[in-house]
Amino acid sequence: MTYNTPHSQTTLADLQPGQSGVVTQLYSQGPERRRMMDLGIIPGTTVTVEMTSPLGDPVAYRVRGALLALRQDQARLVSISDVSSEAEK
């Protein structure tokens, strides 16, 4: 993939199981970006890590009530803020 997320940003790929974050920006373009947005991953959406597949990639995220598997190279292109873990909520 040719897009890049600035290194300083926390992304979906940094979340651990049980942790949530609020989407701030999508760094992908084209069909990839559209698909993510159509699935409800847009700035302001809260995303929670539900589980990791046995080989570590992909990871399943809870997004607006649905469970979505994203590969890590997709997750790295979604920056987030307000990371919290389940216990705190």
């Binding site: 993939m1 947005m37 847009i42 399943a60 607006r64």
Partner: protein
């Protein structure tokens, strides 16, 4: 002002405004729609019990995708599906074949005789068309009628998307989609059904990879060939105690080789003809839902079993007629089938096979189920054996492995022939039902040709290599 100028005016305005607004209109629209959706949902939905809402689901999910239990559970379930299929199909298969082959077939011949049918007519109709169809039905129907409903139950419950989730990493590293794990599994039942199942892969490039490589999953029609040949030639060459183990191991290694080839060819395709960025990946893991068992059995038998069986029968009938005819039309003292065998014998030898096997595979393009009966019939015919079989063009099978070995040895078979037949059974062109399905799904002559010829060329190359090495080493 004409309609045309209005149209071009409009499009010009649109183009100008698009430049002003920039490329983010899709973003803004989607954001607005989701904001609205969230507002409406908030007003309409109350969930008094948010915390425990999906607890059971979550527990199941954590278990079936866990590092420790994810793969064992998957293997266990898939093994159970195959085991139930093989065990469960045994009895009805035998009943069907005793009905269709041992009862109806002689009855039809008697009927033909009593109606005064000429020998060639009853030959074409009953020994050719009917027998080939009966063979396909009795071998194919019971396992498919068990396998597809079981598979569909797992699908309806919601487990299969989790399998795709678990295996995606393996497939993504070869440029393919995790859902290919499912279409491959489906291919172990039937490649035509596996190819149809690739519809669940929504990115065209990955779907094409899954279609082309589905043939490397050994289908129902090929398992019996592998099991018979491995127990006849490999099992019998070791002490009796180890025979079962050795022949089972041989069959499993061929199946595993098939999976490895799937990865290798997927990787090759995604690096060459289907080069490029992989398409957008998306995999939703739907909520678990209790399957409705009766309805599922009904729909999967109607949708999958019946369609695949129908196509196979439509293909097997002409093949049966052709096999019978070729075996019964003689030209210069030999049947056409024998001429073909003689013609292909040299090429077959190079591949470590023989003319009979190649002719059987050409004639059995419609359905791999009839490979073994055709091989037996042609071997008896060309080796001039007497006292076995049911006459020229009449396919048959034998109950005893020793009898099969006697016939095949008389036809000049060695361990190399057996091993290469097993390899060729895995790696050759898909059956015509699958080829037709590939065309229906891709609507592309080019990709249908690739899916057909690529495994054939690979099979010829691999058998040529093993035969040459074996001979150079002096093993046979």
């Amino acid at each position: 002002m004409t309609a045309n100028t209005t149209a071009s005016d409009l499009l010009n305005t649109a183009r100008r405004l698009r430049q002003e607004v920039g490329e983010n209109s899709h973003d803004h629209l989607t954001e607005a729609l989701f904001a609205e959706a969230a507002r409406i949902t908030d007003r309409a939905v109350t969930h008094p019990d948010t915390r425990s809402r999906f607890d059971l689901e979550r527990t199941i999910d954590r278990l079936v995708t866990s590092r420790r239990w994810g793969f064992p559970i998957m293997l266990l379930l898939l093994t159970a599906v195959f085991w139930i299929t093989i065990e469960g199909a045994n009895v009805p298969s035998r009943m069907l074949s005793s009905l269709l082959l041992d009862t109806v077939h002689p009855a039809l011949n008697d009927l033909g005789a009593s109606l005064g049918m000429p020998w060639w007519m009853s030959g074409v109709l009953f020994d050719g068309a009917y027998l080939s169809m009966a063979w396909v039905v009795s071998v194919m129907l019971p396992p498919m009628a068990i396998f597809f409903p079981l598979f569909t139950l797992l699908e309806d419950f919601g487990y299969l998307p989790r399998v795709a989730f678990n295996l995606d990493r393996l497939f993504s590293s070869t440029g393919a989609h995790g859902k290919q794990a499912l279409t491959m599994t489906m291919g172990f039942g039937c490649n035509a059904a596996g190819v149809i199942a690739t519809r669940v892969i929504d990115s065209p490039r990955e779907r094409l990879i899954a279609i082309i490589t589905n043939n490397f999953a050994i289908c129902n029609g090929r398992w019996p060939t592998l099991i018979l040949i491995s127990s006849v030639f490999l099992g019998s060459s070791v002490p009796a105690a180890a025979a079962g183990l050795i022949s089972a191991a041989a069959v499993v290694s061929i199946a595993v080789l098939g999976v490895l080839l799937t990865f290798a060819v997927s990787w090759f395709l995604s690096k060459t003809w289907l080069k490029g960025e992989s398409s957008v990946f998306s995999l939703e893991l739907p909520p678990y839902r209790p399957p409705r068992i009766l309805q599922t059995i009904y729909t999967s038998i109607i949708d999958r079993t019946a369609i695949v069986l129908y196509r196979a029968v439509m293909m097997a009938v002409p093949a049966g007629i052709l096999i019978w005819t070729l075996s019964n039309i003689t030209l210069a003292d030999q049947s056409l089938a024998e001429h073909m065998v003689g013609f292909l014998d040299g090429f077959g030898w190079l591949l470590g096979l023989n003319g009979v096997i190649l002719v059987a595979y050409i004639l059995a393009i419609p359905a791999n189920e009839i490979v073994i009966p055709t091989i037996l019939m042609l071997t008896v015919l060309t080796a001039g054996l007497t006292g076995v079989g049911a006459g020229a063009g009449v396919m048959f099978e034998l109950d005893s492995n020793t009898a099969v070995k006697d016939i095949l040895s008389a036809g000049g078979w060695t361990a190399l022939t057996a091993v290469n037949l097993m390899l060729f059974s895995l790696i050759h062109n898909p059956c015509s039902t699958t080829i037709m399905t590939i065309y229906n799904e891709t609507k592309s002559v080019k990709w249908t040709a690739v899916a057909t010829l690529l495994p054939l060329i690979m099979g010829l190359t691999i058998t040529l290599t093993t035969a040459t090495i074996t001979r150079l080493m002096g093993w046979v």
